[in-house]
C-alpha cells in the first residue's frame, strides 16, 4: 500500500476493513458506515461517501505523483552516479580527479560547493569558496571521528556565509585518508542527500585509489627514464676506449647495481707522462653515491692530469685535500686505488686509500692481496697513503675490483669472498685481460644464482705482455 493512501482508512471507524466494505457495497449499506471526526460520529450519506472516495482518490494521486517524483529522482541519481563513474575514469591525475569529483558532487547534491581533501592536497569547487585552513580543521575533526558529520547554522564553529556543512570521511587503501565536504545545501541536507553523498564519497575513494595508482606508475616510469638517462651519462663519463700501451693488455668494466652507482674507473694518458689508472668506490649506493662519484672522479682525474710530477700518492693526497670538506658535509668517503705504469723500467707504482680488493700476481707466482696503507679519501684531513712499487714484467697481473665482487652473496647469504677471487685470478692468469674479466663476472653471476646485484661491480684487469 502506498504510504499516503494509508492515511485515509484511518479516518474510518473500522479502518482496516473500510476499503473492503466500500468495494463490497452489496453486503453493507453505505448509510451503515460511521465516519469519525475527532469525537463526533455521524452516519454517512451516499454524497458523503462520494466525497470521501474522491478525497481518497486525490490523496492517492498526490502520493503516486510524489512517489513517481522520488523514483525519477532516484533514477536520476543512479544515472548521475553512473555518469560520474564514467567521466571520472577519463581523469587520470590525482588533482584532476579530485577537481572533477568536487564539481560533480556539488552538482548532484545541489550544494553550493564541495571540497575534497586527500593527504596534503585540497581542492574546492568553486575556487575560493571557503578558507582552506579552516576547512583543513574540519577535515581533521571528521577524519578523527571516522564518521559523517553534519553542521547547520546556528553553530559556533561555522563561519559567516556557511549555513550548513556536511563532512564525509573517505576510505582510501583500507584507512581514512581523505574527506569530502559539502557546503550550503539550500533548505538543508535531507536524508536522501546524505545517502547519495555517502555513496559518492565511497565511490570517490575508489576513483582516488585508481588515480593514486596511476600517478605512482607514472612517477615510477619517469624515475626509471631519468635513471636510465643518468646511467647513460655516467657510462659516458667512463673511458670509451682503453689506453694503448704496447706492453700492457688492459680491460675495464663497471656494472652498477642500481641503474647509477658510486664506482668509477679511468685512465689518464698525457703526452710525456706515464699512463695512470684510477679506480674508486664511493660509500653508499644509488643517486647520492653517483653524484659524489662524479665529484671525486673529476677531482682525481684533474690531479692526475695536471699535477707536476704526479705520483699515485700525490694524486690521492691532492684529491683528499680538495674534497675533505665536501665529504664531511655529505657524510661520505671514497676508497680509491691509483697506479702509474712506467714501461721503461717495467714497474707499476701504486697508492691505495683504503681500497680492497686489489690483487697482484707475479709471473709464475700466486695471486695475493695488496692491502691498503691509507684511509679512504674524506676520512681524515690528511692522506696517509704512500707510493709502493711492483715489478710488472710480461706475465704480471694486476686485478683491481670493487667490493661488489667480494661481497656478492649466494641465495643462502654466503659471501663470494677474497679466496674465491684469488683462486679465479690464478685459474685465469694466462688468459687475455678481457677473458679474465669475463671469467670473474661469470663466476660471480653463477655464485649469486640470479639474486639481484646488491652493489656495483667494477674492475680493471692489467696484464704485462711482451
Amino acid at each position: 500500500m502506498l504510504p499516503g493512501c494509508a492515511q485515509v482508512p484511518r479516518r474510518v471507524t473500522e479502518s482496516t476493513a473500510a476499503p473492503t466494505m466500500l468495494r463490497g457495497a452489496s453486503k453493507t449499506e453505505p448509510s451503515d458506515l460511521v465516519v469519525t471526526d475527532g469525537s463526533t460520529a455521524w452516519p454517512c450519506s451516499p454524497a458523503m461517501v462520494e466525497v470521501c472516495m474522491r478525497t481518497r482518490q486525490l490523496q492517492c494521486e498526490a502520493d503516486l505523483e510524489q512517489m513517481t517524483g522520488q523514483l525519477v529522482e532516484t533514477q536520476d541519481q543512479l544515472l548521475a552516479m553512473y555518469d560520474l563513474s564514467l567521466t571520472t575514469r577519463s581523469h587520470l591525475g590525482t588533482g584532476e580527479t579530485l577537481r572533477h569529483l568536487a564539481r560533480e558532487v556539488a552538482r548532484l547534491v545541489y550544494a553550493q560547493g564541495a571540497v575534497l581533501c586527500v593527504g596534503p592536497t585540497l581542492v574546492q569547487h568553486p575556487a575560493d569558496l571557503i578558507d582552506e585552513r579552516l576547512m583543513s580543521k574540519y577535515f581533521q575533526a571528521a577524519e578523527q571521528r571516522r564518521e559523517d558529520l553534519l553542521l547547520s547554522a546556528p553553530h559556533p564553529s561555522l563561519p559567516a556565509g556557511i549555513t550548513n556543512l556536511c563532512l564525509l570521511p573517505i576510505q582510501i587503501r583500507g584507512s581514512i585518508r581523505g574527506t569530502l565536504g559539502l557546503i550550503n545545501r539550500e533548505g538543508g541536507f535531507t536524508a536522501p542527500d546524505l545517502k547519495l553523498a555517502r555513496a559518492i564519497a565511497e565511490q570517490a575513494g575508489t576513483h582516488i585509489e585508481h588515480a593514486m595508482l596511476y600517478q605512482e606508475t607514472l612517477d615510477q616510469a619517469r624515475l626509471q627514464t631519468e635513471m636510465a638517462v643518468a646511467r647513460k651519462v655516467q657510462l659516458q663519463m667512463l673511458p670509451q676506449s682503453r689506453p694503448s700501451v704496447p706492453t700492457l693488455d688492459i680491460y675495464a668494466e663497471s656494472r652498477p647495481a642500481l641503474q647509477v652507482g658510486g664506482d668509477f674507473y679511468d685512465f689518464v694518458t698525457e703526452p710525456d707522462r706515464p699512463v695512470m689508472l684510477l679506480l674508486g668506490d664511493v660509500s653508499g649506493k644509488g643517486v647520492s653515491a653517483a653524484m659524489i662519484m662524479s665529484l671525486i672522479h673529476a677531482a682525481t682525474r684533474s690531479a692526475a692530469r695536471f699535477m707536476p710530477d704526479a705520483t699515485p700518492a700525490s694524486v690521492l693526497s691532492r684529491t683528499n685535500n680538495d674534497l675533505y670538506d665536501d665529504m664531511t658535509l655529505l657524510d661520505a668517503f671514497t676508497t680509491a686505488f691509483v697506479a702509474q705504469y712506467e714501461p721503461k723500467h717495467g714497474l707499476m707504482r701504486y697508492a691505495n686509500a683504503g681500497h680492497a680488493p686489489v690483487i697482484y700476481r707475479a709471473p709464475g707466482g700466486r695471486a695475493q692481496l695488496l692491502e691498503a696503507d691509507g684511509v679512504p679519501i674524506g676520512v681524515l684531513p690528511i692522506s696517509l697513503s704512500e707510493d709502493y712499487t711492483l715489478d710488472f714484467p710480461s706475465g704480471a697481473l694486476l686485478v683491481v675490483t670493487t667490493d661488489g665482487f667480494s661481497e656478492a652473496r649466494d641465495p643462502d647469504g654466503a659471501m663470494f669472498g677474497y679466496e674465491r677471487l684469488l683462486q679465479l685470478v690464478d685459474e685465469f692468469a694466462d688468459q687475455p685481460a678481457q677473458v679474465i674479466a669475463y671469467g670473474l663476472y661469470g663466476a660471480v653471476d653463477g655464485f649469486t644464482a640470479g639474486q639481484p646485484q646488491e652493489d656495483d661491480q667494477t674492475l680493471i684487469v692489467i696484464r704485462g705482455i711482451v
Binding site: 668506490d281 660509500s283 653508499g284 649506493k285 664531511t328 657524510d331 661520505a332 668517503f333 676508497t335 683504503g354 681500497h355 680492497a356 680488493p357 692491502e371 691498503a372 696503507d373 691509507g374 684511509v375 679512504p376 674524506g378 676520512v379 681524515l380 696517509l384 667490493d403 661481497e407
Partner: protein
C-alpha cells in the same frame, strides 16, 4: 638491527646490534644531532656485518665529535667488522678498544 643509547657520566654510549648497513645508518646520523656531549663510545659487540654506509656513518660521527673537541671511540669489534676496518685501514682513523670500560676510561686519560 637494534639501536640503543645510554649515558655513562659525560660519555654517550651507542649500542648497536645485528647488521649495520644503509638501512640503519641514517638513524645513527640522526642521533648525532641530539648528542648531549661530544664524547661518544660505540658498542659494536653485537654487530655482525657492516657496509660502507655504516662506515661512513661512523666516520661522520667521529668528525662531528672531533669538531666539538671530543671524539668517538669504538669497542668490541667482532671478526667480520674487524676485517672491514683492516681492509679499509679505518683503524688508523678511529681509536678502538676491547671493552667498554677501556673505551670510556680513555676519555679521562
Amino acid at each position: 638491527m637494534a639501536l640503543n643509547t645510554r649515558a655513562l657520566g659525560n660519555v654517550s654510549v651507542l649500542d648497536l646490534q645485528g647488521r649495520f648497513d644503509a638501512h640503519i645508518a641514517p638513524a645513527v646520523i640522526e642521533w648525532y644531532g641530539r648528542l648531549p656531549t661530544a664524547q661518544v663510545v660505540v658498542n659494536l659487540a653485537g654487530v655482525t656485518f657492516m657496509d660502507s654506509s655504516a662506515l661512513a656513518a661512523l666516520t661522520g660521527g667521529m668528525k662531528r665529535c672531533r669538531q666539538r673537541g671530543g671524539d668517538m671511540r669504538l669497542y668490541a669489534l667482532q671478526q667480520p667488522v674487524q676485517v672491514i676496518f683492516e681492509l679499509t685501514r679505518m683503524y688508523r682513523a678511529f681509536e678502538i678498544f676491547a671493552t667498554e670500560a677501556e673505551a670510556v676510561a680513555s676519555f679521562t686519560r
